[in-house]
């Protein structure tokens, strides 16, 4: 089952969902609109094993994402839940501009809680602004016992490149 906006508000008040900062006007009928955080990592090169990124702060006048590149951004909000699983996706208004907010990895594990890294791919050149509402997260009921998330990404608050080359 997917939580309605009213239920998301209730669970934030109860503390079983963490969204910080939280604003009621960003609640949708069945999701919550998240904002783009200020830090962006821009791909520079590939060293044969891993991609190297350069970190920048998105200026107030915005930054243009170019097609064919992948950028690592992050949510402004800390998002997590002790009780529900999450799906972090773009919002339709950004999808209508051709902006991917992740690369098929939408699933957020129960008990992870952090500012999510966004894998941003633009189909068209698009200007993004720090703090703009850019995507949405939905919350889903679990079925079965919950074992706490033990991964490396679920506590990171800054955009973080993949750990895979280190494994």
């Amino acid at each position: 089952m997917i939580l309605t906006g009213s239920k998301i508000k209730e669970e934030v008040a109860r503390g079983t969902i963490k969204i910080s900062p939280f604003s009621e006007e960003q609640v949708n009928p069945n999701s919550y609109n998240y904002r783009l955080g200020p830090i962006l990592k821009v791909y520079k090169s590939f060293d044969g094993e891993k991609s190297l990124f350069e970190e920048m702060k998105i200026p107030e006048e915005g930054y243009i994402l170019q097609p064919g590149q992948m950028y690592l951004g992050h949510t402004k909000e800390i998002i997590g839940s002790s009780t529900y699983a999450m799906s972090l996706i773009g919002r339709s208004s950004m999808g209508r501009y051709g902006l991917f907010l992740q690369v098929s990895a939408n699933l957020g594990h129960t008990t992870s809680e952090h500012q999510w890294t966004l894998e941003m791919v633009a189909a068209l050149p698009i200007r993004v602004y720090p703090g703009m509402i850019i995507g949405q997260v939905s919350f889903w009921c679990n079925f079965g016992a919950i074992v706490e998330y033990g991964g490396r990404y679920g506590r990171l608050n800054r955009p973080h490149e993949s750990f895979v080359p280190l494994d």
Partner: protein, 180 residues
Amino acid sequence: MILTGEKIKEEVANNKIEINPFSFDRVTTNSYDLTLGETIIRYTSKIIDPKEKAEYEEIIIPDEGLVLQAGDFVLGHSAERIGSDYYVPLIHGKSGTARMGLFVHVTADLIDIGSHGVSTLQLYATLPVRLYKGMLIAQVSFWVPFGDIVLYKGKYQNSIKPQPSMTYKDFKYDIFKKVD
């Protein structure tokens, strides 16, 4: 919980799910197949700025089809009007179109409960692909909500063709608020 095809049929009959036109043979085990409507939108602005209204052209898909090149991004729409005040719809590609390298949405698969209209498809081609009106292109599944329902009253309600993004209308709602 996700509805089965049998439950989708029941809820269409009960008017709890809107799919129009509706055909029994498009019901799958867990979804309903959507076909491509005739109108396509292609942005003509060189750079998209969400604070401004983007320029675009509307194209009617000709009978011989419309070719998207690899890297092309356009908006299409489902020929069907869909929506529900009781379940949450999710849009998916069909494996047949996905195998041609065609995305039908750009991570925004979730439809708000209470939203009704044709569904705008975000078509992104990774290989050249020819689109025909009426072709099977996507599927919609329906999910059970948990909690009190407040219906969608947003800016894309009752769409009859693809709707370009209207983020510029959000400006007054502080959508671009500065980060601390």
